[in-house]
């Protein structure tokens, strides 16, 4: 069965019906990230496709609100017309997951999809300032609002960001925006090994020049030689000045212009380098300075491809899908180095066999279960998508 409500009131009715029938729901937006998470197949689907439309856009307040099923592209083009943008540059999963469709703004919020600007402009959860959602009791709930400074009550907004729908079906989300930078450029350093590359990225990020992208692509990832990349976005004069100052700190390199910068960071953010092959892809979050150690330890177990974003703190790994798809090894190395790992791309049978999201300590898992019960006591929404039992 497929529910596709046209309004929040209808959404409440759908949830009430599902609850009465004790029928769990798979929540679907644009369908581009269906292969994220543990494979689950609830008896019914709840689509947000008819909950569409921007409900508020105030360029002078740098805020946009839209119903959850609004295509992300619609929101992005609307605000781009006023030279504004979603600060966190959400990843488009379509290339990596070989999926089709149009991602929705609600999914960006629910899955907390951030991109390369995380290091300078915050994550999706940092820009998300308001949500409306329907909980498992079929109640329409709001948290946050349309103003960027708001500490009224518990922050359920952040809690919804990254809950993958398990704590409620989002009906409307509100994001704060930023002006789109007038100009962008990327400094490229060639031939650095991982450790020296992350060191260079750290020095760039530790400078006053507001590096908004810091990645390292080892040899063989997108090009023959290793490239260490630092992006500056600002007014044109400032970009020129800051690139000059930055090179005094990290060394001289070549400079990519606006267009080359845009396309390269799109590839990095979308993990395009690992698209279109049969390997599994892991996403590892750790401290930048320890990331090269992480990769070194992981490489001992077998061949893998990798690259770094977020100044080194975000590591993408591609490796064979054989056996446990590297899960045992990755989790062991995480335990040693610190951080967490998510299996972002893998065949469904693999995702059914191994933990997709980082297993949590018992004390934290207890809190997650209690929270799930407080929002969705009957486990109607995406049950088991993140963890067994929630």
């Amino acid at each position: 069965m497929i529910f596709a409500p046209h309004s929040e009131d209808e959404l409440v009715d759908c949830v009430r019906t599902a609850r009465a029938r004790k029928s769990a729901l798979r929540i679907v937006g644009g369908g581009t990230r269906q292969a994220l998470g543990r494979p689950v197949a609830p008896p019914a689907t709840l689509s947000t496709k008819n909950l569409a439309g921007v409900t508020l856009y105030e360029p002078g307040e740098m805020v946009v609100a839209a119903r959850a099923g609004t295509p992300l592209a619609d929101v992005e083009s609307l605000v781009a017309a006023h030279d504004q943008m979603l600060p966190f540059a959400p990843m488009d999963h379509r290339r990596l997951l070989a999926s089709a469709g149009a991602s929705t703004i609600g999914a960006v919020a629910a899955c907390a999809i951030s991109g390369s600007r995380r290091i300078s402009h915050g994550a999706a959860r940092d820009s998300l300032i308001g949500v409306r959602f329907v909980n498992g009791l079929a109640q329409a709930i709001k948290s946050g609002g349309r103003v960027m400074k708001n500490v009224t009550g518990l922050d359920l907004v952040k809690l919804q960001a990254g809950a993958f729908g398990a704590l409620g079906v989002l009906s409307e989300v509100t994001f704060k925006l930023l002006p789109r930078p007038e100009s962008a450029a990327t400094l490229v350093l060639r031939g650095l090994d991982d450790t020296r590359a992350v060191d260079a990225l750290s020095r760039g990020l530790g400078s006053p020049f507001e590096v908004s992208g810091a990645a390292h692509l080892p040899a063989g990832v997108g090009a023959e030689s290793a490239r260490t990349l630092l992006r500056i976005e600002n007014f044109a004069d400032s970009v020129a000045y800051r690139l000059g100052e930055l090179q005094k700190i990290v060394g001289a390199g070549e400079v990519l212009d606006d267009a080359a910068t845009a396309s390269l960071w799109c590839d990095i953010g979308d993990v395009a380098f690992f698209a279109g092959d049969g390997r599994v892809v892991w996403r590892v979050s750790t401290a930048p300075s320890r990331a090269p150690d992480f990769v070194r330890l992981a490489q001992r177990a077998g061949p893998l491809a990798h690259f770094y974003d977020w100044g080194g703190g975000l590591v993408w790994l591609a490796m064979s899908a054989e056996g446990d798809a590297g899960a045992g090894m990755v989790r062991a190395v995480v335990a040693q180095v610190g951080g967490h790992a998510t299996l972002v791309r893998a065949p469904a049978d693999v995702r059914a066999r191994v933990d997709v999201f980082q297993p949590l300590p018992a004390s934290v898992m207890r809190l997650q279960r209690a929270l799930k019960a407080s929002f969705d006591p009957d486990r109607l929404f995406n049950p088991g998508l993140m963890y067994d039992g929630v």
Binding site: E61, A163, L178, V364, F375
Partner: protein, 477 residues
């Protein structure tokens, strides 16, 4: 003031005070346990000084483990706990109940680790906000959120209230600058959330914990982001004939794609009060003042200021004065950051903290003035204009109960208006007890019940700071 009600203390707990003190004394040494009446009085209130009550005892734990042992004991004994940092809350977040034990983290003040390569610092929760910046300043770094009380307030308190500050227009508030915490739950369980990386697995517990107002547990350590200082910073004073002109100028600056580090607003009365205190060179002939701070190289600041001045001129700016020295910069910020203290020298006041959408600022300012005047009182406005977070300071005579009540009523009316125009009750001070009973103005019964259920997922006994945030009637477990 007496209009805010605290729950009646539980006589059974009060009767067991001796036993509870003995129990706590088994956990911490005498230097970490405050039991004398006079000494306990030091903890009877916070910066919302009109309300006070003396707690059963005060514990000053020295470690996460000690904090855990204290909470485990209180949980077992069924005793309420009031978490406390430096006690600078303006919303009464740290005011104890008579039948509660205060757990204050003022002995946990170490900066445990500074990691420049990863741009994070690990600190104990009792370290002051400014203490973090001071620890990294020599190396050119700082901790970004800068509440006016930053000299005294603790990072634990900042995390409790999701504190903001003048510079959060660019750098965000506490929740955007904390990456991990160690938190003790009411039953003594120690949980680690996040770390020195940029996101955490599972539901975003950290996002819920920041701003929890002492309801979910006691944060004992935190990993915070530290940022590199800008090359230079320059505040500029813009004087306008009226608040309306200043408010409209703010909206146009933002709409033009310029996001300064800070845009602070003062109305005429605030200018007079702050200038008398700080001698910062504020234009006394202006009806309203903006302090706009820009950052970068000298050339970059010049370029950004040219853009801002052009916009200000369209709104009839009457004075433009740039800081020409570090001393002038310090004086300009001293005037702004001591606005509350300076007002306190002139009159007693209550400070509101509502946020309004930027487009509604001028309207809210006008309405604020009308409301306060209708009660026969005066108001000074000083606030973070870039993000719409307003701080009307309603002046009254604390020794006149009728006037106190009027001031509180005026404050309520202003906050209700903020909510009406799309804003909220509190932008950075927290709900505490002060705005607890106004929560139904912003939230439905279902909204509040959902928040309370989420709260109870951490503390189903409701022992933690339980007089705060949620209206006492209709509480759901």
């Amino acid at each position: 003031m007496s209009s805010i009600r605290f729950p009646a203390p539980d006589p059974a707990i009060l009767a067991r005070r001796e036993e509870i003190v003995v129990g706590l004394a088994r956990i911490v040494p005498p230097g970490c346990l405050v039991t004398g009446l006079d000494e306990r009085r030091a903890f009877e209130t916070d910066a919302l000084t009109a309300y006070r009550s003396v707690p059963l005892a005060v514990v000053l734990p020295r470690s996460t483990q000690e904090t855990a042992a204290v909470l485990r004991y209180c949980h077992g004994a069924g005793v309420k706990v009031t978490p406390r940092g430096a006690g600078t809350s303006l919303s009464g977040g740290a005011i104890p109940q008579e039948d509660s034990v205060v757990v204050a983290l003022t002995k946990m003040t170490r900066v445990l680790d500074v990691d420049y390569a990863n741009r994070v610092a690990r600190v104990e929760a009792g370290v002051t906000n400014l203490g973090i910046s001071d620890a990294v300043a020599a190396d050119g770094f700082f901790y970004a959120p800068d509440p006016s009380s930053q000299l005294a307030c603790t990072i634990g308190g900042n995390i409790g209230m999701n504190s903001g500050g003048a510079h959060c227009l660019k750098y965000g508030v506490t929740t955007n600058n904390v990456l991990g915490v160690t938190m003790v739950l009411i039953d003594g369980t120690i949980v680690e959330i996040g770390g020195d990386w940029l996101d955490a697995p599972g539901y975003d517990l950290l996002g819920l914990i920041v701003g929890h107002e002492g309801q979910l547990g006691i944060v004992t350590e935190a990993t915070v982001r530290i940022l590199r200082q800008a090359e230079n910073a320059r505040p500029v004073l813009f004087g306008f004939a009226s608040s309306e002109a200043a408010g409209a100028c703010v909206a146009d600056i933002i709409a033009a794609g310029i996001v300064p580090v800070a845009i602070e607003f003062m109305d005429k009365l605030a200018i007079e009060i702050c200038e008398a205190f700080a001698r910062a060179g504020y234009p006394l002939d202006a009806g309203a003042l903006l302090i706009v701070e820009v950052e970068g190289s000298e050339a970059e600041m010049d370029a950004q200021l040219r853009r801002i001045v052009a916009i200000a001129e369209r709104h009839g700016v009457t004075t433009v004065r740039e800081s020409k020295s570090a001393m002038e910069t310090a004086a300009i910020w001293k005037g702004r950051k001591s606005a509350f203290g300076a007002t306190g020298r002139v009159a007693d006041y209550i400070c509101m903290d509502g946020t309004a959408p930027l487009g509604q600022l001028a309207r809210v300012l006008k309405r604020t003035d009308e409301i306060v005047r209708s009660y026969g009182l005066r108001v000074a406005n000083v606030f973070h204009a870039g993000d719409g977070n307003m701080h009307p300071l309603i002046m009254y005579n604390v020794n006149d109960p009728a006037e106190q009540e009027k001031a509180e009523k005026a404050g309520e009316d202003i906050l209700k208006f903020c909510v009406e125009v799309g804003g909220c009750l509190t932008g950075e001070h927290g709900v505490g007890v002060e705005k607890r009973d106004l929560m139904p103005r912003q939230f439905t019964v279902d909204d509040l019940a959902q928040q309370m259920r989420a709260r109870a997922a951490f503390d189903e006994t409701w022992l933690l700071n339980s007089a705060k945030v949620f209206p006492l009637e209709g509480r759901a477990a």
